[in-house]
């Protein structure tokens, strides 16, 4: 070890408390960065691996009915490696006194030999016996039942059948049941018969033999299979090709991780600021030593190397502390995400490139932060350096700003001194304020984004004047439906709507046909106009649809096939619907030419939209519909839909709050460093204060007050910037995750909370420096150099 290196290390040892603070702060930044990067590596690998292990279907064909012969015929095609029939049927499930929940029931042909869209048995029975169902692991929280419990299930035919939950399965490719507020269950044909349904399969999942990830290839193969099935006298209603090899949520997760990694880098930059502060102070206090070293032959480079080696040490030490922390953090993050997206993580192994990246970034960041203060400090000419007396060399009082400060009123001089003292090291103050204000900004953004999201949802739900949606089993006559509704108490208004689908190119989107004079939907038209009773070929598109398809512009005319009716449509309006899937609205009479007055869905506005009233209406309406020979397939209340949205929002909110907490801690460490440097540099002044009669208590209070001044200032900066910054953060997060905008509102309570947090944080951060300052005796303080 050379002497310069020894000096670097001993100087740090001399200032060990501060050195440890800075190492911790950098380590926190690196740990956040490491946690995100390793989570990114683990999650992308495990999500796609777990998903691919299930042999996800390359394409799904909806066919009128599928038998073994048909499957065998499809398998004759060498481009198809596997084909398996399933049945998917929607219905409702009820456990004990709970109300009915929407159910998606999957009928699997042979549980012993699932080759496509594999399920993983987790607990209980496998396969389910007749009269039994298995429940997707995440759906247990929706159905609120346990293995062994008896539940009641009904499909659209209305037969209520008691069944037993006999096991738990994991269906990786399924979206999280809790988010969708739907129960996924798995059973067999026998049970289906018990439910009063005909025993047939209606979906063919196929797996292509080659080029599994080539969407065009899959579409070609699926088209071949479709014509084969049709040539055998079957009808194919629809062919779906999901994005190959990609978990349905992998894009969403990528976005989340991207947001997190930019945050990790941000924290790293903030902790770099602490390095700048520490080394600037260090260089300032070492001016004389630098001069001496130059006088005895040290070149600028040789001297800079000493201080760079200190930055290097900071980085290495921080990386050593941060790596295990980061790995623990990434484990927690991965587990959270795995639950959120409902998949298993088989290995937490972190690839080597992550370690390397973290090490390089962790070591380079403090070096980069040190570059300016070190190079500047080591450049001081010998004569100036030797003439410097190290301490109190700031020239307070020269600038107009300083003189303005002296104009600040108040007669309690110690407080005045504290206020002016905070402004002595201007650059350090700015950097400290920046870190603290950043924490405040994130916190305020979190609250503002949350209230904005609530506001946006409120506005969206305000356009929907119906409390309950009842999807019907098939098309029914509107008049007959309204008659059944009329016999049901508690319904204020009802409208029959027709919901169907259409597509343009490969993009599929929803079509809602509604009475042109509807009173249950008041869309927020942002361009063009809404539907009019006289319209025959008008379509109003929502922003999600307009965003996906360039043709969907107000004023354009295009040809669409809706309900097997191909005709041209004119886009007359653009409706804003936050967080919604792509939907086009058309007048009901414009598509009813084929089947006049027929609708497949009811929208109801109720007298009392609470949970009990909704349940009562549902039960009574089901009965009245049945008397007319009609059946509901499923029903969703506004509150159910809202619940799903809220679940997604909570995630963004939690993410922002956690970020602001981490930045708050970094900011607190920064303030602690600043205060301890301020106190260190002013030991002599503290001695003078003591000599002219200040009690230790006053000295202590003065330092705390100085910290509070900084804390309150940072709060003011955060408060000023909170509006534009939260708007930007909210808009970018929401547009990234949901391709949607946000109706911004400002949460004033946040300002109060953050003011209290700032005060508490700065009091805590200046506590130790203040205590040390107050303990210095007069003699000690004056002798200190």
């Amino acid at each position: 070890m050379t002497t310069p290196w020894r000096k670097a290390m001993r100087d740090f040892w001399h200032e060990r408390a501060r050195t440890i603070l800075v190492i911790l702060a950098i380590a926190l930044g690196i740990a956040a960065f490491a946690a995100v990067m390793s989570s990114y590596a683990i999650l992308t690998r495990e999500l796609d691996r777990g998903y691919l292990d299930t042999n996800p279907a390359s394409a799904v064909l909806r066919v009128d009915s599928i038998d073994d012969e048909l499957v065998a015929a499809v398998l004759q095609n060498p481009e198809v490696s596997n084909a398996e029939p399933r049945r998917t049927i929607s219905g409702q499930i009820k456990s004990g006194p709970m109300q009915w929940r929407n159910l998606m029931l999957f009928v699997v042909k042979d549980y012993g030999d699932i080759r496509v869209n594999k399920l993983e048995p987790e607990k209980g029975a496998w396969p389910p016996a007749p009269g039994e169902i298995l429940i997707e692991r995440d759906a247990f929280q929706v159905v609120r039942a346990h293995i062994g419990d008896a539940v009641t299930v009904k499909t659209a035919n209305g037969v209520e059948q008691p069944l037993v939950i006999s096991g738990r399965v994991h269906d990786v490719g399924q979206a999280q049941a809790r988010m969708e507020n739907i129960v996924y269950a798995y059973t067999n044909l026998d049970t289906l018969v018990q439910l009063g349904e005909k025993p047939y399969y209606d979906r063919l999942n196929i797996l292509v033999a080659e080029n599994r990830f080539d969407e065009d290839h899959i579409r070609r193969v699926a088209a071949d299979v479709k014509s084969l099935i049709e040539s055998r006298g079957h009808e194919v209603w629809r062919v779906d090709v999901p994005p190959p090899g990609k978990h349905p949520h992998s894009d969403l997760m990528g976005m989340l991780l991207l947001a997190m990694s930019s945050f990790g880098l941000f924290v790293l930059v903030l902790s770099g600021i602490l390095v700048v502060n520490l080394l600037t102070a260090m260089m300032a206090s070492q001016v004389r030593q630098i001069g001496v070293m130059k006088a005895i032959g040290g070149t600028r480079t040789a001297i800079a190397r000493i201080y760079f080696s200190q930055a290097l040490f900071l980085g290495v030490a921080a990386v050593i502390v941060a790596l295990p922390l980061g790995l623990i953090g990434s484990r927690a993050l991965c587990q959270y995400m795995a639950v959120f997206l409902n998949f298993n993580i088989y290995s937490f192994a972190v690839p080597v490139w992550v370690y390397l990246l973290v090490a390089v970034v962790g070591i380079a960041a403090p070096l980069a932060a040190a570059a300016y203060p070190v190079w500047k400090g080591s450049g001081a000419p010998v004569r100036v350096a030797l003439a410097d007396f190290g301490l109190a060399q700031t020239t307070f009082g020269v600038s107009r700003f300083d003189r303005a400060l002296t104009g600040l009123g108040g007669s309690f001089r110690p407080l005045l001194l504290a206020i002016r003292n905070s402004f002595r090291r201007r650059a350090r103050l700015v950097l400290t304020l920046a870190t603290l204000a950043a924490g405040g900004l994130f916190f305020l953004s979190a609250l503002n984004v949350r209230s904005s999201m609530i506001n946006t949802l409120d506005r969206m739900f305000a356009t929907r004047k119906f409390d309950l949606t009842v999807n019907l089993r098939e098309m029914y006559d509107n008049e007959k439906l309204l008659q059944a509704v009329g016999e049901t108490p508690g319904i204020r208004r009802a409208e029959g709507w027709l919901t169907t689908e259409s597509s343009l190119g490969n993009e599929r989107f929803g079509v809602v046909a509604l009475p042109a004079d509807t009173q249950l939907l008041e869309p927020e038209i942002i361009e063009g106009r809404g539907l009019l009773p006289s319209d025959t070929d008008a379509i109003v598109v929502n922003n999600a649809l307009a965003g996906r398809l360039a043709e969907m512009r107000v004023g354009k005319t295009l040809t669409l096939s809706i309900d097997n009716l191909e005709k041209s449509w004119r886009v007359v309006g653009l409706a804003r619907e936050a967080f919604s899937p792509s939907v086009g609205y058309v007048p009901l009479n414009a598509i009813q030419q084929q089947s006049p007055k027929m609708v497949n869905s009811l929208r109801l506005s109720l007298d009392r939209p609470d949970e009990d009233s909704i349940a009562a209406v549902k039960t009574s309406l089901d009965r009245n519909l049945e008397q007319q020979g009609m059946r509901a397939r499923s029903s969703t209340s506004k509150a159910d839909t809202r619940f799903g949205f809220d679940q997604h929002m909570v995630m963004i909110y939690v993410f922002l709050i956690v970020m602001s907490a981490i930045i708050g801690v970094v900011g607190g460490l920064g303030l602690m460093t600043t205060m301890s440097l301020n106190v260190l540099e002013r030991r002599r002044e503290m001695g003078v204060l003591r000599a002219i009669g200040a009690t230790p208590r006053i000295v202590w209070l003065m330092v705390i007050a100085e910290g509070l001044v900084i804390g309150v200032l940072s709060w003011a900066i955060a408060a000023l910037l909170a509006w534009p910054v939260s708007k930007f953060v909210g808009d970018s997060l929401v547009s990234m995750m949901f391709r949607s905008g946000l109706d911004f509102t400002f949460e004033p309570l946040g300002l109060v909370i953050w003011l209290l947090v700032s005060i508490a944080l700065s009091a805590v951060a200046s506590f130790v420096p203040a205590w040390r300052a107050s303990r210095a005796t007069v003699r000690e303080a004056l002798a200190y150099e």
């Binding site: 001993r10 030593q289 005895i296 032959g297 004569r383």
Partner: protein, 221 residues
Amino acid sequence: MISLHQVNKKYETPAGVFAALRDVDAEIRAGEFVGVVGKSGSGKSTLLNMIAGIDRPSSGTVTVAGTTIHTLPENKLAAWRGRNVGFVFQFFQLLPTLTAVENVMLPMDFCKTFPARERRKRAEELLERVGVGPQADKLPATLSGGEQQRVAIARSLANEPPLVIADEPTGNLDSVTAHDILDLFRNLANFGTTVVIATHEPGIVRVSDRKIEITDGEVLR
């Protein structure tokens, strides 16, 4: 060895231009022990700084051991100084976090004058020579003023410079210690090192070969 020709040094101060040196001409031969005397603020330190290459003249030339040092860039100057000039300060200026022997090794590390393995041994010998061998592994804060200045002198000799410059080396010492320190410098000069000392110390007359007297920036003849 040292030659100053028509050296002027002016400082810009808020109160106006201040002339620290005026038309200074001086010659110092190799192995000479010269005392620079004068009152506080007379320009002694500035003159020493010129010779050591710590400060540059406003006009005139400074030649030391054949090098016109005022023309060297800052970094070259530092390296030149490391090899050619040993500097001793009034307040010792040892680096507080390095031990005595490490302080002496530092110039050798900077200038890479001796093989790394020999540096410690050489530093110990130098400490021995100035009489603080037993203090080699102590930190400066635990040494007395006289001991610190001895370590500083040992450090100034680390790279075997032909020239040693000392600015008030005894200004912070009691008279007995000051006497010993001056003897130490005399000893250096006896072995061929050129020594230039700025001082108020009356005893300088006893040990130096001659003195240069300076008043208000001008050298008295």
